[in-house]
Amino acid sequence: MNKWIVIAVSIALVLSFTLVYLLSPNDADYLARYTPENYVTVAAFDVPLDGNRIVDVVSSVFPFHFKTLKMDIDRIEIRINRNISGDLSGYMRENLKAELYPVPVTYERFNLEISFPRPVRNYMAETFGIVRIFDHYNELMREHAELMICVPMNYEIE
């Protein structure tokens, strides 16, 4: 291999590293993308505020991820993060089908079923998986969720 090719490849490799670094936000900016204000509601359900108040998410949202949050609201909401490349919120608004129903017979819990048309592809440009052995980074990475299910303060979600 010509030495100029070696030099060019070396520069390209260093540039790749630098670019990935520069394209990455710092921890605070990253976390800011996943605050509740960055999620838009695509589905909402009025729910009774008495009873056992437990919601089970019974369907998979693969290939997306969801997190849950108790909020000062009086309904159950499915929200989509606005910072996902590709207008996920618009896509979900059009295609998401969600159903909330009380578990028959006992009526003590609610089942939440979420579905959307597949195939759908979700690519996550993830960092080195090895950092997850540290709690700090594990929690940081778990902040990332395309979907957020918000429940009233007196509800439990599992």
Binding site: L23, Y30, R121, A125, L140
Partner: protein, 235 residues
């Protein structure tokens, strides 16, 4: 002065030969990474693709030990003596390989990561059901890079050390390694103690501490692996 000059010449020549040898190694690495990238892009069903950064680490963790098994073999070392080298230089060049190859592999995985992102951007404009997110922070990237690097170096160093002994003292090394493995399988106390030791090493309050622990293991491996190569004859 004369000695310095000949040492420098020999070192340059040796590194040149390893550079030539490792062009094909790098080609294989690039091939595997490209294969992974293409297979990820070709997936048509619902998928959540993980990035090339972690794939680079896993790929390197397999390839680097294989490279170490090859370069410590008698036949490979004999070829290196085609041109004059001394054993210190040989060990030094191996250490350079162990230290430099992971950097190159990880930097390459950064390049593939960018290619992947570019492909994602293109897919984004072409289809309506494709989405992607950048789940990397500056801090996690740097720490991940450093830890991936030192783990690869450590695994490479340990493999190098084991096979530097194995090729020179096959029976003794086999007996030691075989006894160790059997003890690991059949002696519960030994296994627990070993796992505790691993736990002790891996569990670290900070990435810096983990880096230091792996560095220490690597240094010990280099020192132990140096002994048989320093004494070896080229047959």
């Amino acid at each position: 002065m004369l000695s310095q000059n000949s040492r420098l010449r020999a070192m340059k020549s040796l590194l040149y030969s390893y550079y030539v040898d490792f062009k094909s190694f790098y080609g294989i690495y690039i091939g595997i990474m490209t294969g992974l990238l293409l297979s990820k892009l070709a997936l048509s069903s619902s998928a959540s693709g993980s990035s090339s950064l972690s794939a680079g680490l896993v790929n390197g963790m397999f390839m680097l030990p294989i490279a170490m098994i090859i370069i410590t073999s008698n036949s490979e070392l004999l070829k290196k003596f085609s041109f004059h080298v001394d054993r210190n230089m040989l060990v030094f060049s191996h250490i350079i390989l162990i230290l430099v190859l992971p950097v190159i592999m990880l930097l390459t995985s950064c390049g593939f990561h960018l290619l992947e992102t570019l492909a994602a951007e293109i897919a984004l404009t072409a289809t309506g059901n494709f989405f992607y997110t950048w789940v990397i922070t500056k801090d996690s990237f740097l720490v991940g890079f450093a830890l991936s690097y030192i783990i690869m170096v450590c695994v490479g160093g340990i493999t190098w050390m084991v096979f530097a002994w194995f090729y020179r003292h096959k029976i003794a090394t086999s007996v030691v390694c075989g006894t160790f493995l059997l003890a690991l399988i059949y002696l519960r106390n030994f296994r627990d103690a070993f796992l505790n030791l691993i736990n002790l090493i891996v569990y670290s309050p900070s990435p810096g501490m983990l880096f230091l622990k792996f560095s220490a293991i690597t240094l010990i491996s280099f020192a132990v692996g140096y002994i048989p190569i320093k004494r070896m004859e080229v047959k």
